[in-house]
Symmetry: C2
Subunit: 642 residues, 2 copies
Amino acid sequence: MQRKIYLNMHSREEAQQLFWTRFENSKLGTETVPAYQARERISAGPVFARFSSPSFHSAAMDGLAVRAEETFGATDEVPLTLDIEHGQAVMINTGFPLPPEKNAVIMIENVLLSDDGAKGVIRAPVYPWQHVRKVGEDIVATELLFPTGHQFRAPDIGALLAAGIGTVQVRCKPRVAIIPTGNELVRLEDYPKLLPVGKIVESNSGVLAALVAKAGGEVTVSPIIRDDFESITTHLQAMVESDADLVIINAGSSAGSADYTVRIIEQLGEVLVHGITIMPGKPTILGVVNNKPVVGLPGYPVSAIIAMEQLVMPLLARWQGIFLEPPAMIKATLARDLPSRAGIEEFRRMIVGRIGTDFIAVPLKQGAGAITTLTRANAILRIDAASEGEKAGQPMELDLLTPLPEVERTILCTGSHDLCLDLLNDYLRRQQPAFPLASTHVGSLGGIMALKKGMCHLAGSHLLDPEDGSYNTSYVRKHLADKDIRIVTLVHREQGFIVPRGNPRGIATIHDLFQDDLRFINRQAGSGTRVLLDYELDRHDLDPDGIKGYEEDEYTHMAVAVAVLSGKVDVGLGIKSAARALELDFVPLVEERYDLLIPGAVFDTPMIRRVLEVINLDGFKQAVELLGGYSTRETGQLVGLD
Amino acid sequence: MQRKIYLNMHSREEAQQLFWTRFENSKLGTETVPAYQARERISAGPVFARFSSPSFHSAAMDGLAVRAEETFGATDEVPLTLDIEHGQAVMINTGFPLPPEKNAVIMIENVLLSDDGAKGVIRAPVYPWQHVRKVGEDIVATELLFPTGHQFRAPDIGALLAAGIGTVQVRCKPRVAIIPTGNELVRLEDYPKLLPVGKIVESNSGVLAALVAKAGGEVTVSPIIRDDFESITTHLQAMVESDADLVIINAGSSAGSADYTVRIIEQLGEVLVHGITIMPGKPTILGVVNNKPVVGLPGYPVSAIIAMEQLVMPLLARWQGIFLEPPAMIKATLARDLPSRAGIEEFRRMIVGRIGTDFIAVPLKQGAGAITTLTRANAILRIDAASEGEKAGQPMELDLLTPLPEVERTILCTGSHDLCLDLLNDYLRRQQPAFPLASTHVGSLGGIMALKKGMCHLAGSHLLDPEDGSYNTSYVRKHLADKDIRIVTLVHREQGFIVPRGNPRGIATIHDLFQDDLRFINRQAGSGTRVLLDYELDRHDLDPDGIKGYEEDEYTHMAVAVAVLSGKVDVGLGIKSAARALELDFVPLVEERYDLLIPGAVFDTPMIRRVLEVINLDGFKQAVELLGGYSTRETGQLVGLD
């Protein structure tokens, strides 16, 4: 193992410049496709019309075809009778060829027909070629219909066919070969039920393939190659000699003991860039072998995606001569401080929602290993390399990942975590239009702080007042005195001890947390569950110092349950549904009320009305009760604050 | 034949409301697809994680795995030596499982290794679980990964696979059956060389199929059905009983003698709407047969597309529960007055470009039969039903059809028409980035007027000054005295008589235009060609009244050539390349200079620099000369105005 040494570190702009310039003259081949399959393809040369359209003079209206000269003089006072029977005027439908010698059409609405249809009376003349579509009016044979490099849209297909063009020469789609490498990687198909310890599902190739498709390319994915210098070398050589236009190795791009990629590219060709000052995405390699671009993408999924979007997709677009539309921008206010390392351009995944007239941006966690930070995000904040971070309350420009109207319907939910929120989100998303519920979990007190700053639409809370046993109301009165806050009960739920199946340590009461060698996991300070634990300890005159693990904490019920499942700890405090979800055992301690705290300012908006509708649905309540440990007896009820 | 009677006329909003509400409960089926093919598909139900990710505690960095407790106390002053040889610390790569009993990783950068690798010295402690990716840190098994109705993006595929989900249940794509009807329609495959008179290539089904694909649907296109009540009825019945979710009949939606659609829908089901107050698109029918939506779309291609986009595509999106992104909007200044009929909502096809800081919108022609108005447009102006039109100079909101940066690079070219402009456009589009040349033809004097109002980037002009035989300069001095205008020669070109092959009327000089029964076609007033004709007539003391057809005019050289080719006239005045393009004969009259007039304010912009680069290319000049009738001896030269 060696220290990480990046051979050739560059900023994003420098890396883009170096990489794109090097391959700007790579040419894609051309192929012929039927016109009706041309949508989104790009013309490989100028397209000239073969037929004129229309190809004959035709009626532009239903009516009478006439010689215009024979209608001159017709007025309201001196109507003119046209002889249809003997062909002076001829009935004609829109689109039909004009009879020889006729040069205009009188709209049928302007003709008074005799009962037998033999005569037509008109009260105004027509001028020559009126209501006639002349030959070539739309398209003239031989004219340039589409220039080189034109990306065909749906209407273009109509123009192609009308101009007699059944097939078009288009640029080939760029072909990308993806080589997944890593001893730890397995195919999901081989382990559909359970993953062996130390193994990871190879998932990046699926994501990268989808990104290539999005950029208009085609993909070949190799089998997973083991971390072996010879194997990777042989395979890379083969892919570079294939018809692929660009080769991606994933991963092996950092400098760990099995990270061969950079050495292999160096041996077979040239390393242009090793290391880019972006986060995620730093350990990216840009190289060239056989005059073809070879890219070593990082293994962490978010890193691989960011590097792919910043470096590879724009190159694929350039080759095709198309324009990859940049993401729409939005100006939003940061909900929290975002420290950032100077010298690194950071791509932070964010959730943006609109509160009143302002857009609020809530950061998701940072880890490049967490693909869900990207799947849950609806925007990306780029923090400039020069910046040491951004301050809460500051307006920032963000790149949107979803259409603006979806962002505008996004419900920012924070505070305490409960599984019913996922269910609520699912119900909200089944409606038309959908109001996505985007939750971040900061504990009940964190939710109250967010409400104080006006940074959320609703906050889940289950804060017990030890004085009177009430929930939430006294906290709202104390911390949000100057705010108009409505409290709506979501559920009553059981809190208790989450323990391994069979409850091997025989946990029954709070006193059992003091067993010798028993490892406990706590929830973070400010969470309702932590408040509950402290209340129960206090009530029984117990000293938290006697609990091993009281100082270690997790942020969600599910994380506590996972800690128990993985054997990291013996017990944690949490909700029954979390225990049930992971098939753990549960020892009930208390039932508590979990409410939604909602600012009055947004209470009467469509999004909150929809939330209240959904939680009052019988179907929703039944689904909640099925999770286990919940009662919906007061669900949807407004809680008085007095 | 009957007068057009719309049974059930509605505004667009009313029609949408009626139609969408009626079918809002239609449910699409579901199907299972592999996760790696899920991009853009929509989840049919909630998706829950099967695996946790990571599924084991793993190193988040390359380094030494340790028990954090054993590192406490290490400082710069009191470094700590870890025993690697005997397993107190274990070398580990990113992503590898943490050995049992270890609970933290020290980054390799922070370790000083002994030469034999048996010992490692550290100068700072780590805290428990530092640089460790804990089980479920990203995804916890059983948690909600994606709610119902989620449209999968590329990163989502990574989350699915990482969570052990190899296949997902998605909503079926909506299936649309398209029935082309019309005796005049033929398939291009059947007449690839030449279209019989009175026949039209059936092109709408290709466009509609592409629009359905764009909206996420799938299509079946029927063979062309003749305009026969029984045939259409039988076929519609079959399609309605098929697995199609929606059936489109095209056309037969107006009220001509062969327009059966409305009667057939009425007989088989119910007509909800017949006639919508939009233009194009008025004769649209919305109906229901067998509880399925049946839509009669107009035959004119632009009408069919507008009706499809306004009525059908949003319904397909609603069924899928997805959001069809509305077109981006742009505020642009109208270049010309746009009268419009009150009571009709009009969709005008426009070309928008940026001049300085303003966007300028130039209207294309109106005809719903001209598909090229839509293929050439980069924006649509909706003129409200209440409006009687919009005034030139007014700022208007338009819907963009192409990405904004492409609009920003669009070169607004107007004035006189020349075939070299198409060639120039093609060359400009081959460059990276492309600067599309969007031409509208208003004649040389029209171009000068556009320059006066600041409504174009360049104008083609070949205005002869009869006084001194000069081109363009005296006109610029007279009409654009207060403007800084640069004149760059594009080409010299031959003007002359365009005549049928073999020159049957033996046209040799301008005197031959006065032959008995000879039919002439003129160019519009203000065109340089018209000025040239008048100059030549004057020079020979000839009276235009003696030319039959002097009062009839066309707007382009190609239109004049088409008039000759179709036998409508015997001769016209125009450029040699137009005659050659249609394989007509040409009798040269004079050589003239054709210049580009360019405002000084845009002369030094990237777009004009690119134009000047291109016209100076040898390849471009050779291509121009190949068109015939051109000399490039002064191409690219600046013409002095003094």
